[in-house]
């Protein structure tokens, strides 16, 4: 059933994400052509086009998270929830579906944004951005994989945090979105205070377990896993034992 849920979730969300990816790549191509066209023009041409393009890419990168949050609320916690929560599936399966698909779209949007900005960079100075060279030159068994793991867990956790907030919000009979916003603020502050504390204390802990003090990677991944498991269990329990589709 999880596979079927994921299939329909991709179908439902691809309607927004594929056109958005197309637009981001198109703007990358336009940027490439524009950079060649404005070569030798006054600096303010370059500044304006760079600012406009930067704003577009920023909007593009925030779009998947916003749409995923909106879709979670719309699909599970409004009238659509009458269908989704009467399917013979568990709340955990519904939650896995939302988190997996949201994470995939967010990671893909980062890749698309990188390709789009690379096109503009090639148009500007004929060279790929530094990040591609760093990726190409790094040891694939260490930095790149670690970076990907960090990004995936980070995206997973941020998506789950907002889903947990919405699950809290649905406990209220009125002003659910306001309650969810309040919950997300509290969760954001608490998780970041703990993260800062972990960063400060991770060096001696890391040294204790690995004998090295030059990396905070392992404690941070452990913390992310802990957050993700916690958010998932809380959200699943709220949607199972406290579902309130008024």
């Amino acid at each position: 059933m999880l596979g079927k849920l994921i299939k329909y979730e991709f179908k439902a969300t691809a309607r927004w994400f594929l056109p958005a990816f197309g637009v981001a790549l198109l703007f990358g191509l336009v940027g490439l052509v524009a950079q060649v066209a404005i070569a030798g023009r006054p600096d303010w041409w370059v500044v304006i086009s760079t600012v406009l393009y930067g704003a577009l890419i920023l909007a593009f990168l925030t779009f998947p998270l916003i749409m995923s949050i909106w879709h979670f609320n719309h699909d599970l916690l409004t009238d659509r929830g009458y269908l989704m929560f009467t399917l013979p599936v568990t709340a955990a399966q519904l939650l896995w579906t939302k988190v997996i698909v949201a994470t995939v779209w967010q990671v893909l949007s980062v890749v698309v944004a990188l390709v789009s900005t690379s096109l503009v960079a090639v148009g500007s100075d004929g060279q790929l951005p530094l990040i591609w060279r760093l990726i190409a030159e790094s040891d694939p068994r260490s930095e790149v994989i670690l970076l990907v793991i960090l990004i995936v867990f980070g995206v997973f956790g941020s998506v789950l945090m907002y889903f947990t907030s919405l699950a809290f919000g649905q406990l209220f009979n009125k002003h659910r979105i306001a309650a969810a916003l309040g919950a997300s603020l509290v969760l954001y502050m608490v998780t970041h205070i703990i993260a800062v504390f972990a960063l400060i204390t991770s060096e001696p802990i890391n040294k204790l377990f690995t004998g090295r003090s030059d990396t905070t990677f392992l404690p941070m991944v452990a913390l992310m896993i802990l957050y993700n498991v916690g958010y998932f269990l809380v959200t699943r329990n709220l949607l199972t034992k406290k579902l309130n589709l008024v």
Binding site: M1, A12, D79, Y82, L83, F85, N173, N244, L245, V246
Partner: protein, 234 residues
């Protein structure tokens, strides 16, 4: 075994707030069409949502074929809400695929036949359909399942009299004899002819559960007359 048992169920939306449902106990046997009747705001929809697992109760217990609402009960309960729950961007045939994928008891051929009778094109997008046609599509989806318990919330509430006749006919002709149909409505006169039993709910309390035959024979009243009498006194 009873298909549905509701035991001393109470529902409050806030801990200290009033009970929307107060100590409700009902039992439904298989093979009956039961009317859950009451005025607007009497708690019918809340009770139905608890039966379907969309709301949790404050006290008491709901058992569908002996099990608390969950994945197993959702396999045998077909629920029709009083609002549209389908995605507007989908085509009717895509929704049929969706139901085929998730419900093992969904009969696609039966659904296509009913769509054809109502001249609804399976290729049409839901957003292009009128509100009444969308309601018919939802009813077709629900009644095309071979469920053990059909829970229909106001199935005739928003449609014209001609459509009401079609909907009632669809319900009667498509549920299997060993299944139970629970229909919540306040439009008693339209639905009376198909009911075997009635449950009257007022202000969250069950005020009467009886068979339609008993009401007619012993009390010499139609259900509609009985309803007006009971609720005029409340």
């Amino acid at each position: 075994m009873s298909i549905l048992e509701v035991k001393e169920l109470t529902k409050r939306y806030t801990k200290s707030g009033p009970a929307v449902l107060g100590n409700v106990s009902i039992t439904l046997e298989a093979g009956k069409i039961v009317g859950l009747l009451g005025p607007n705001g009497s708690g019918k929809t809340t009770l139905i949502k608890i039966i379907c697992g969309l709301l949790t109760c404050s006290e008491g217990q709901v058992l569908v074929e002996g099990k608390a609402p969950g994945r197993e009960t959702k396999k045998i309960v077909a629920y029709l809400p009083d609002t549209s729950y389908l995605s507007d961007w989908m085509r009717v045939d895509q929704v049929l695929e969706f139901f085929t994928d998730f419900y093992a008891d969904f009969d696609k051929a039966r659904a296509l036949k009913m769509l054809s009778l109502l001249q609804i094109d399976p290729k049409s997008r839901l957003k292009s359909l009128s509100k009444g046609t969308k309601e018919k599509v939802q009813l077709i989806l629900v009644m095309s399942r071979d469920a053990k318990l059909y829970v229909l919330d106001e199935p005739i509430g928003g449609v014209d009299p001609a459509a009401r006749d079609y909907i009632l006919k669809t319900i009667i002709t498509n549920y299997s004899p060993d299944a139970t149909v629970l229909i919540a409505t306040h439009l008693i006169a339209d639905i009376e002819s198909v009911l075997d039993e009635v449950i009257f709910v007022n202000q969250g309390v069950v005020v009467l559960q009886d068979t339609v035959d008993h009401i007619r024979e012993e009390r010499g009243q139609s259900v509609d007359e009985m309803f007006r009498e009971v609720f005029a006194a409340c």
